[in-house]
Amino acid sequence: MSAPLNDLFVAELLRALPAHAVLLSAEERRPYECDGLSGYRALPGVVLLPDQLSQVQKILSLCQEYSVPVVARGAGTGLSGGATPHPEGVLLSMARFNQVLSVDRVAGTARVQPGVRNLAISEAVAPDGLYYAPDPSSQIACTIGGNVAENAGGVHCLKYGLTVHNVVSAQVVLMGGEVVEIGGQALDNPGYDLLAAFIGSEGMLGVVTEITVRLLPKPKAAKALMASFNTVEGAADAVARIIAAGIVPAGLEMMDNPAIVAAEDFVHAGYPRDAAAILLCELDGGPEEVDADIETVSSLLYDCGAQSVAMARDEAERVRFWSGRKNAFPAVGRISPDYYCIDGTIPRRTLGEVLTGISSLASEYNLRVANVFHAGDGNLHPLILYDAGKPGEFERTEELGAKILQLCVRVGGTITGEHGVGLEKIDQMCFQFGSGELDQFHALKAVFDPDGLLNPGKAVPTLSRCAEFNAMHVHGGQLPHADLPRF
């Protein structure tokens, strides 16, 4: 199968790029047909692997000239279909931009290319006692360019922030090929905060070609506690009490019983299999502060009904405590043929209400749900267990997922805390935002990409799509036009 693209366009690409940077055959394009949301697939028209700024400029200028859609891609670990290819478009892989360009030890920053892996930044600056704070669970594989596109978080965001708090500037190529530096090397920058608009924009506004990240000194001490509870409410209460005591933990994570059992069976982290919930709490800073906080937190945990509180005795045990949480997704993957990860954020105080709601929705749909929760910042990841082999089960799962997200919005939260909207949650955008907000998003997008060629059909739905979606909703989840393509 040959690429479904204009011959002149392809000829120009081949003139502008070395042959090895242009993948045209179906076999070569196949590995790029999906990202981490593998339920959505499309064979891209062509895959391009540039390694020079000027090549990216030329590609975006040709795409503009020939009206060809462009989907940029980092490592493809995203979970919302943000990098799902366009069948008549360019899949622009930034994988070859993989160099740490410089480390500025005076300013405490590093200039990196977008294809550098998240963890590789921290590894590169570790000899200086520094690190890059945001640590999404995929940090071994995901790239900093993808992190910028999705405003990636991690388990340490409550204290250290998201990507938007840890990136100071970026070089960006716009559709048409113009290059602009947004943000800046100073702490405050002139004009509107274009960098804030760009981070988390899901590849809709431009292609990032260089990034300056802020580096932090490694804390002198870090200790982790694990507490088990026989009610979820007890664990939720403990979270609120810890924050009320004036402590901001470096990490504060909760898992419910199905997630605990799955993780324990998988990595043997030492979790109590009979607990209704566990809390993992990491405290870091100066050794004196950490010791004082450990004492306060331990007694608060017991006050809230913890059955047991264990402190990691050494670094190995601390890593083991975390390994269960960090491997929770694959662990759940072992106990079910398939699972679907939801990414809502809720005000923490509504946790009990939301978990009860999820549990009754799950029985309504006859599906099992395991919950992992970034308890510190309210980001909830219900994992719906299903079997794609059973007819209709994936559709039921998606519907349950949508209902859970509606519940998150209803209690004052959001449909996505850190995974992005992408293709996956584009319909759910219709109940988070009204037409005025969506119009404003489209106007903002048009400033950067007036022809709508960057990642078309993702992140922000058209008003007509929402009209259709809302009309569908009236029928209580019964799709009236099942034959209409929904994505």
Partner: protein, 349 residues
């Protein structure tokens, strides 16, 4: 919809239709800042009050006209604070104006800027549409981050009506260490602090003295003081407050006050006038009648830019925007406020 918001929306729509400008005003404490305000006053001060504050969520939501001091007092009662330490420049300062101006105080390099702490914003754009972006939760990546885009926009993209902010526990204990140092030695020490794991929450040099503030639990602060050295400065707290509010003697006098935001560096700039270095070496405050061109080229030599902060000729444009970035800024203004109704000229575009 609240009557006030309804009439605000109508007022903006009318202004857009008739081609009049609106001068959006909170407590009128930062009138000196940015370009000359023009247009019919659109007063936000009466739309005040805290809408939601749950200390255990670390989030506060308030109407734009809420006084900054009232909001800070409310937080203090629960032992919490606004981490970005915003300057008020007067009793009447409002939270809406604070966010619109996007100014942050001495803690900014260590605890984040106004833009880092904003979680959600409700606003009326230049077409009179009532819009809501972001929310009351820490993590939210649905849609473009318009709430952060509004921070520092000087009310030129939309009239901020409500704002949600992340707050943090206040420090149990704060001490200031003082060192007698040249500007050069101070810069070396200040920039070194970026890569040292110490609980630093402010650092500034002026008149031969570097001051570093350490905050946290007492035992930690004491240990860090030992490690850092220097002398204890018992007048530390008032110093940081007076620096934030521009009440130090340095800020007096008729000369224009400039601000140079720069990349942290080690060789101090040889500026034409008295200066104070703040933010760990990434901001210079300067009293000078030098030309904007002179100061601009000095700022650019360290990857920065200059802005006229207070006094001097408000019509002189500065701020370092040009080329594609300037075009994008102007187009963004058009995307939010196509008729240029809202605070025209307050941002140097």
């Amino acid at each position: 919809m609240h009557d006030f918001i309804q009439s605000l929306s109508v007022a903006v729509r009318d202004a857009a239709e008739s081609g009049r400008a609106l001068c959006v005003t909170g407590g009128d404490t930062k009138r000196f800042y940015g370009g000359e305000p023009i247009g019919d006053v659109c007063a936000m001060e009466s739309y005040a009050g805290i809408i939601n504050y749950e200390p255990t969520e670390l989030v506060i939501t308030a109407k734009a006209g809420t006084r900054l001091h009232d909001l800070e007092d409310t937080l203090a009662k629960s032992g919490q604070m606004l981490p970005f330490e915003p300057p008020a420049f007067g009793e009447r300062a409002t939270i809406g104006g604070t966010v619109a101006c996007g100014l942050s105080g001495p803690a900014r390099p260590y605890r984040g800027a106004a833009r880092d702490l904003v979680l959600g914003i409700s606003c009326v754009n230049g077409k009179g549409e009532v819009l809501k972006f972001g929310g009351q939760v820490m993590k939210n990546v649905a849609g473009y981050d318009v709430s952060r885009l509004m921070v520092g926009s000087m009310g030129t993209l939309g009239i901020i009506t409500e704002v949600s902010l992340k707050v943090l526990p206040g420090a149990q204990c704060s001490v200031t260490r003082a060192f007698e140092l040249s500007a050069q030695a101070a810069l070396k020490k200040m920039t070194g602090l970026f890569t040292q794991a110490l609980p630093v929450t402010a650092s500034a040099w002026h008149d031969g003295v570097l001051r570093v503030r350490l905050s946290g639990v007492e035992a930690s602060v004491n240990a860090a003081s030992q490690e850092l050295g220097g002398e204890d400065d018992p007048a530390g707290d008032p110093f940081w407050l007076d620096l934030k509010e521009h009440r130090l003697a340095f800020f007096d006098g008729p000369l224009p006050l400039w601000r140079l935001n720069v990349k942290p560096h080690i060789e101090p700039l040889d500026l034409p006038g008295a200066f104070l270095i703040d933010w760990g070496g990434s901001t210079y405050w300067l009293k000078s009648d030098a030309s904007v061109e002179t100061l601009d080229s000095m700022a650019r030599s360290v990857d920065g830019y200059v802005m006229r902060f207070r006094g001097g000729d408000r019509s002189v444009r500065c701020g370092g925007l040009d080329g594609v970035a300037m075009r994008l800024n102007r187009q963004l203004k058009d995307a939010f406020d196509p008729k240029h109704v809202l605070n025209p000229g307050r941002l140097p575009l």
